[in-house]
């Protein structure tokens, strides 16, 4: 396939000022083809949320380029940027803070339509009703305030808001992490259905590998501001190459009491992004038997592994078994 990807992130860097600066995102390159879902996985401090917000230019990057549908997002002036906002949207993690507590559901959903003049005032109510029905909510919810809704319902409103401008691309920033298991399944199914129906492209950010399994076509794993592995979803779960990915997978508690999986337990905590280790950022905690001085001094590049051109890993010993 040689068609250009819908979203092309090139060497994105975001440092927050400080002494020393916090290197939240330290050179991330990703591309997402139209209609696909890329799962971006990492723990807290990995920089995944920052990637999501910076791609949408909700924060200005330190350096790097994002090309969306042929346009350089960071080079746009205010006017064209506002037009671009129609095509790229975001759904947030915390259903309790992602809706304005002083606005009703209807007001929240009407706002994007008003800003972009997508419907005349006479049709607003009908549009709001249609959006609510599309996300599985009773249209009677339109007059309610966020505090009268449950977490799952609020999250659906957040999704409806993102859909109201008819985007092509949605950044889902941990959209189900704050929800109960049964509600989580409902919202994940909704996101999958909407993707099929509206031909959406997702950047799905999560810390839960099991959740990502159910929605992603490709998966990228982040650690301390960098991508350490990237592959088609099946490959990451079947044959992970980076030691961190393997530790992450083995740490997920499986709902199977008979499982005798060897748990790889990492020692210590993720270092602060203000003080990333030299060389490979993962080396202080890496359990790989072949770890040596090269890991301490030389930062491994994200290279193609033996599994094929789509499977990349940033490890000097990606080919060696653990």
């Amino acid at each position: 396939m040689t068609t250009a990807p819908l979203v092309d992130i090139q060497n994105l860097v975001k440092h927050y000022p400080g002494r020393p600066p916090v290197r939240a995102v330290d050179g991330v390159s990703l591309s997402i083809a139209a209609g696909q879902t890329l799962g971006l996985v990492g723990e807290s401090g990995s920089g995944k949320s920052t990637v999501g917000r910076t791609v949408l230019r909700l924060q200005e990057p330190t350096s790097g380029r994002v090309v969306f549908d042929g346009e350089d997002v960071f080079a746009l002036a205010t006017g064209p940027l506002r037009a671009l906002r129609r095509r790229m949207q975001i759904v947030f993690q915390d259903p309790y803070s992602s809706l304005n507590p002083r606005m009703t559901v209807a007001q929240t959903l009407r706002e994007p339509l008003e800003i972009h003049r997508l419907a005349p005032p006479a049709q607003m109510e009908a549009r709001v009703t249609a959006l609510l029905e599309e996300v599985g909510l009773d249209p009677a919810f339109a007059g309610r305030y966020p505090h009268e809704l449950s977490g799952g319902q609020r999250q659906r409103v957040g999704i409806a808001r993102a859909l109201s401008v008819e985007p092509r691309f949605i950044v889902c920033d941990e959209p189900v992490s704050a929800l109960d298991v049964s509600v989580q399944a409902q919202v994940l199914n909704l996101l999958a259905d909407l993707q099929k129906k509206r031909s959406l492209t997702y950047l799905f950010i999560a810390h839960d590998l099991a959740v990502v399994r159910h929605i992603a076509d490709h998966v990228a794993v982040m650690y301390l501001g960098r991508i350490v592995e990237r592959a088609p979803a099946a490959a990451i779960y079947a044959a992970p190459r980076h030691p961190y990915t393997r530790a992450l997978l083995s740490a997920v508690p499986e709902p199977n009491p008979r499982a005798t999986r060897e748990r790889i337990v990492l020692s210590g905590d993720m270092p602060s992004p203000a003080h990333p280790p030299a060389g490979c950022p993962f080396h202080p905690r890496c359990p790989h038997p072949k770890k040596n001085d090269r890991c301490r001094t030389e930062t491994p590049a994200l290279r193609v592994t033996g599994d094929g051109p789509a499977h990349l890993a940033a490890c000097h010993f990606a080919e060696e078994p653990m």
């Binding site: 917000r53 949408l56 909700l58 506002r82 906002r85 129609r86 949207q89 975001i90 947030f92 993690q93 915390d94 803070s97 992602s98 809706l99 304005n100 507590p101 002083r102 606005m103 706002e111 994007p112 800003i115 972009h116 505090h147 957040g158 808001r161 109201s164 401008v165």
Partner: protein, 307 residues
């Protein structure tokens, strides 16, 4: 005092009590409303304020004399309270109750309008500083620092010296322009915190410009300190007006204001204490009521107590 005036006064009391009851009933559905009335002084504060507002609005009805009329300079000056003159008379033989009632109009108006100017200005500056941060914030907040350091009475004295006795509108403006600094800091702090919340990022993601974000999303959620500032602010402006009028540079006689009434009665503190006592009591009651309401509002609107 005449019978119709007595009757109107009783109606005023009843109306004030009814206002408190209505306020309590209508806010019972809201968590914040219930928290507000849990304060023992909150209801009292609303009642006192309601009473004075009613008296100010209906001043001609609840009084029997003209506030500027000197009734009988020979026989009726500095008379102690009696059935005809329920709060007594002052040194110019004017009925004190009438002057307190009409004085309420001036004092409350200056207080409310002055507060309005101050809070509006303070909110705008605080919101802009908190939302844009960086150099705009630095410049604005340093100006606020300077403003806070200025002695207000001094500034007003200079204004008087330059422009002579100020008409009421100008007085309100000058008071407002020198009272907004504290509010701006409070609003800025609240805006700094609200702007980080996800729904603000969501509004920007959906394409909202800074104006819409500030006025529709940030400020409505930063309203708590603004409202509390406003309630307490009226009290401050009232006291300031009283001080200025007392000094002779505020509201000019013969228009009654509580401040200049105290000035008139000051030389007779020992012989006719009621001439200073009653306007002073009026000021004290209103300011205390505003403080009680402001405190109760602050607790009622405290977001940490919401769920």
């Amino acid at each position: 005092m005449t019978l119709p005036a007595w009757f109107a006064l009783l109606v005023a009391f009843a109306l004030a009590a009814w206002t408190v009851r209505e306020a309590r009933r209508r806010t019972a559905r809201h968590e914040a409303g219930r928290r507000f009335f849990r304060h023992p002084t909150a209801a009292w504060g609303i009642g006192v304020l309601a009473f004075f507002v009613i008296v100010a609005l209906a001043a001609p009805l609840v009084t029997s004399y003209d506030p500027r009329a000197q009734l009988d300079v020979v026989h009726l000056k500095n008379q102690a309270p009696s059935w005809s003159y329920i709060l007594g008379t002052d040194v110019y033989s004017r009925d004190l109750w009438t002057r307190v009632a009409f004085g309420a109009r001036v004092s409350l108006l200056v207080g409310a309008l002055g507060m309005l100017v101050a809070v509006t200005l303070g909110t705008l500056v605080g919101a802009v500083a908190g939302y844009y941060r960086h150099w705009i914030d630095a410049v604005l907040m340093r100006s606020v620092d300077v403003g806070l350091a200025l002695p207000r009475i001094f500034v007003l004295l200079i204004a008087i010296a330059l422009f002579g006795q100020l008409p009421l509108a100008a007085l309100v403006l000058v008071i407002g322009l020198t009272s907004w600094f504290g509010t701006s800091r409070l609003v800025r702090a609240e805006v700094l915190s609200v702007r980080e919340r996800d729904f603000v990022a969501a509004a920007r993601a959906v394409g909202a410009g800074p104006g819409r974000v500030i006025f529709r999303h940030v400020l409505p959620n930063a309203a708590a300190p603004i409202i509390v500032s406003a309630a307490l602010g009226i009290g401050n402006v009232l006291l300031l007006e009283a001080a200025l009028s007392f000094l002779g540079i505020g509201v000019a006689p013969p228009t009654p204001s509580w401040g200049n009434m105290i000035a008139d009665g000051a030389p007779y503190l020992a012989s006719a204490p009621w001439t200073t006592l009653f306007p002073g009591l009026a000021i004290a009651l209103v300011v205390m009521a505003l403080n009680a309401v402001g405190d109760a509002l602050r607790d009622a609107l405290d977001p940490r107590q919401e769920g």
